[in-house]
């Protein structure tokens, strides 16, 4: 990729846990912590999250519901609700810490350079305005475009994201679009101001596999074309495998593993990642309803209000030993470009314990 710049960028930021991805980081999150005020006291929803996204790269942030994926992106965007507070960390956009700015200034900076696509497009789009209005509003306000130019651009954008009959559809309201088309409209809105970084929070979770494939392909094409940095938040490891270059796995508000995608899927370095990979029912591997039991992770993710002591994953971990119940494992480098927060990371990595290889479509070709 962008060879020469990456070396400089890497050395400037190499201090944090020794994991460096290639490319210039456009957006970098350092040691972010977010707390909510609740009736039961302060609850830490995100604790020590770090990641960086480079131009033209896709970073997947994976975790189960409640692991802090959405809260962390809202913090990056300056969109946290009033009950939440960033208690620690930095969000660096081209080197500038957005968290040191006023909230208004923070949002303005993001508006220009970082865009976000939400899971529920219907809720995120304004139901009382036409799609065309929502696309042109930002262009006119922020770019000072004339009504006509903005209108033309809106049609171009809808065209770009593959909405058929874009010229006719700018006058429609969000509810008049199907789920997949609405998600495309969201993406068009996000692209309006030509962002450097796109954060997509579960962009296809509500969609059918066929429509999901369309939307993911669209995202990948646009990203490659504009060399955007893409942060793809998802709980679907299939989507991660198919789209991302790097992956950050979160559990209970913390990063438990970080690595290039190929490496993690080939040999996970954390028992949680390993268990997640094992628990995916595959439509490729054999199976006919007879007798096979799915490997499961016992128990359930903890509530951030009642985190287990030591390693938060220990009550569900198949590798846990005494030390896990008392000492929280730090996130440490385990290999080139890889970090894991497990006392026995080296052992887990060395065991190369991965699910049986997935058969893909070849099976159907012969």
């Amino acid at each position: 990729m962008s060879g020469d710049t990456s070396a400089a960028a890497a050395s400037s930021a190499a201090d944090h846990d020794g994991v460096v991805g290639p490319g210039t980081p456009l957006l970098e999150v350092r040691d972010l912590a977010v707390e909510f005020r609740t009736p039961e006291g302060n609850v830490r929803a995100v604790d020590g999250l770090s990641y960086r996204v480079a131009a033209g790269r896709t970073l997947a942030v994976v975790g189960e519901s409640g692991s802090g994926k959405s809260v962390s992106s809202l913090a990056v965007m300056g969109l946290l609700p009033d009950t939440a507070r960033v208690t620690h960390g930095e969000v660096l956009l081209a080197g500038e810490d957005l968290l040191s700015l006023s909230r208004r200034e923070h949002r303005r900076r993001c508006g220009e350079r970082i865009a976000m696509v939400f899971q529920d497009a219907l809720a995120a789009l304004n139901p009382v305005h036409t799609v065309g209005y929502q696309l042109t509003e930002a262009l006119r306000r922020r770019r000072g475009m004339s009504r006509r130019d903005a209108g033309r651009r809106a049609v171009e954008l809808l065209d770009l994201v593959g909405v058929p009959n874009a010229r006719g559809r700018v006058k429609d309201y969000p509810h008049q679009f199907s789920g997949g088309m609405r998600q495309r409209v969201m993406i068009a809105t996000a692209l309006a101001l030509d962002p450097d970084v796109l954060i997509a929070d579960e962009p296809t979770t509500a969609l059918d596999v066929t429509v999901q494939a369309q939307v993911l392909r669209l995202l990948a094409e646009i990203q490659a074309e504009r060399r955007m940095g893409l942060v793809l938040i998802t709980h679907d490891l299939g989507v991660v495998a198919g789209m991302a270059d790097d992956v950050t796995v979160m559990y209970a508000g913390r990063v438990v593993e970080r690595a290039p995608v190929r490496d993690t899927f080939g040999a996970p370095a954390h028992p949680y990642t390993r268990a997640l990979l094992h628990s995916i029912p595959s439509s490729g591997a054999g199976g006919d309803g007879e007798g096979r039991r799915l490997p499961v992770i016992p128990g359930r993710p903890p509530s951030p209000a009642a985190l287990p002591t030591g390693c938060a994953f220990h009550p569900r971990c198949d590798t846990a030993r005494d030390v896990c119940r008392t000492d929280p494992p730090p996130l440490e480098a385990v290999a080139v470009d890889r970090a894991s927060a497990c006392h026995f990371a080296a052992e887990v990595l060395a065991s190369h314990d991965v699910p049986p290889p997935v058969e893909h479509e070849e099976a159907a070709h012969d």
């Binding site: 596999v209 595959s282 199976g287 499961v296 359930r300 997935v358 159907a364």
Partner: protein, 381 residues
């Protein structure tokens, strides 16, 4: 001849579309438009298809929430519509439903004991040993602590709530469970727990399942047979292994290839996707057509990726646009089959075909050119 526990023949469910003050009928949503299948004791039929293809509507007709527009539902060979009042009541006990959303399916004001025990009250059934004991046993059966009977739904996780829903569905000892997306709202790590529970219960109680899901992986895992729906019809049906490993219908092939697999060498998108093994995903263009106005001929022809290839790149073959293909075994040579003309009255035909296939369940597809996926270089591009 063995009778199916549950059989569906040419089932149709249409909804009127009403507009305006006078609520005039301006059209018909053909939510389910001629579906036939049989389900045996202790077996699972998986039902997959895009959103709006009619899966939930079919499920709701089977449990009696909706009445069919036409067609038959047979329980142990008996036509449900002809049952006496007592017979119909028995039906409601025999066929129970598990819903998708464990967050809204349970009444938040009722305790777990009340929720699970409610079917006894509704059906005025006194279980042997009393209701409290029966509720305790049910909770035990689905892996919940019987000591939690007086807790409320919000005190449970999604997976546990789904177990509560299953316990309730099992209260009246049904023989058939219709599960509509029972694990879709759950985290991956918890999905497996519920799927395993359903499999254990099947082994223990000999239950039959109709299992609706959009996750093809989960369906492959649990189902003995799979039916693929498109616009209210079954376009492919067969033993799971056969359908997953040798899909015959272009729609099923697209569905399977679009499902993301946890293997980084299979790119979903981007420049490398085309070089990936399997030639990358077959991405269908556009949304499914409206079930109010399904396309003539083959209902899939507006999105079919195969038809334009067969027609030499530009035009699709004449039969695709003109004639609705019947659900039947593929021709051995994979060539064009003769088919009945689309007179809208061929539901019975599909069924008749089905009866002929003695022995195990046959592998059927509703495509004039049904055949295993051709070589990858012909796909996409």
């Amino acid at each position: 001849m063995t009778e199916h526990v549950l059989e569906v023949r040419d089932l149709v469910k249409h909804f009127p579309v009403r507009r305006g003050l006078l609520r005039r009928t301006v059209g018909t949503v053909k939510a389910v438009d001629g579906v036939s299948f049989g389900l045996d004791r202790g077996r699972t039929l998986g039902l997959v298809g895009e959103s709006g293809s009619g899966k939930s509507t079919l499920a709701r007709v089977l449990v009696g929430i909706e009445t069919p527009t036409s067609g038959q539902v047979l329980l142990d060979g008996q036509d449900v519509a002809r049952l006496s009042r007592a017979g119909r009541k028995q039906l409601r006990r025999d066929v129970q439903m598990v819903f998708q959303d464990p967050y809204t399916a349970l009444n938040p004001r009722m305790s777990v004991g009340e929720i699970v025990g409610e079917p006894f009250a509704i059906h005025r059934v006194r279980p042997p040993g009393g209701r409290a004991a029966a509720v305790g046993e049910l909770l035990e059966l689905v892996g919940l602590d019987p000591g939690h009977v007086s807790r409320y739904p919000h005190q449970f996780s999604g997976g546990q709530r789904q177990r509560i829903g299953i316990a309730r569905a099992l209260a009246l000892r049904p023989r058939i469970l219709v599960c509509d997306e029972p694990v879709s709202a759950l985290d991956v790590s918890v999905q497996g727990q519920v799927v395993n529970l359903l499999q254990d219960l099947q082994d223990e109680l000999g239950l039959s399942y109709l299992f609706v899901a959009h996750d093809l992986g989960v369906v492959r895992h649990i189902a003995h047979e799979v039916a693929v729906m498109y616009l209210g019809r079954v376009v492919e049906r067969g033993p799971s292994g056969a359908v997953y490993d040798g899909a015959l219908h272009p729609y099923t092939q697209a569905l399977l290839s679009a499902a993301p697999v946890p293997d980084p060498s299979v790119r979903l998108a981007g420049p490398s996707a085309a070089d990936a093994p399997g030639g990358g995903a077959i991405v269908l263009e556009g949304d499914p057509p409206s079930p109010t106005d399904p396309p003539a001929g083959c209902p899939f022809h507006t999105r079919c990726w195969l038809a334009p290839l067969l027609g030499g790149g530009r035009r699709i073959p004449e039969p695709c646009a003109a004639t609705r293909p019947a659900l039947e075994p593929p021709r051995a040579d994979g060539g064009h089959r003769t088919a009945t003309h689309d007179d809208g009255e061929q539901h019975g035909h599909e069924h008749a075909r089905d009866e002929h296939t003695g022995g195990g369940p046959a592998h059927l597809a509703a495509c004039h050119f049904a055949r295993p996926l051709p070589a990858p270089e012909r796909v996409g591009s």
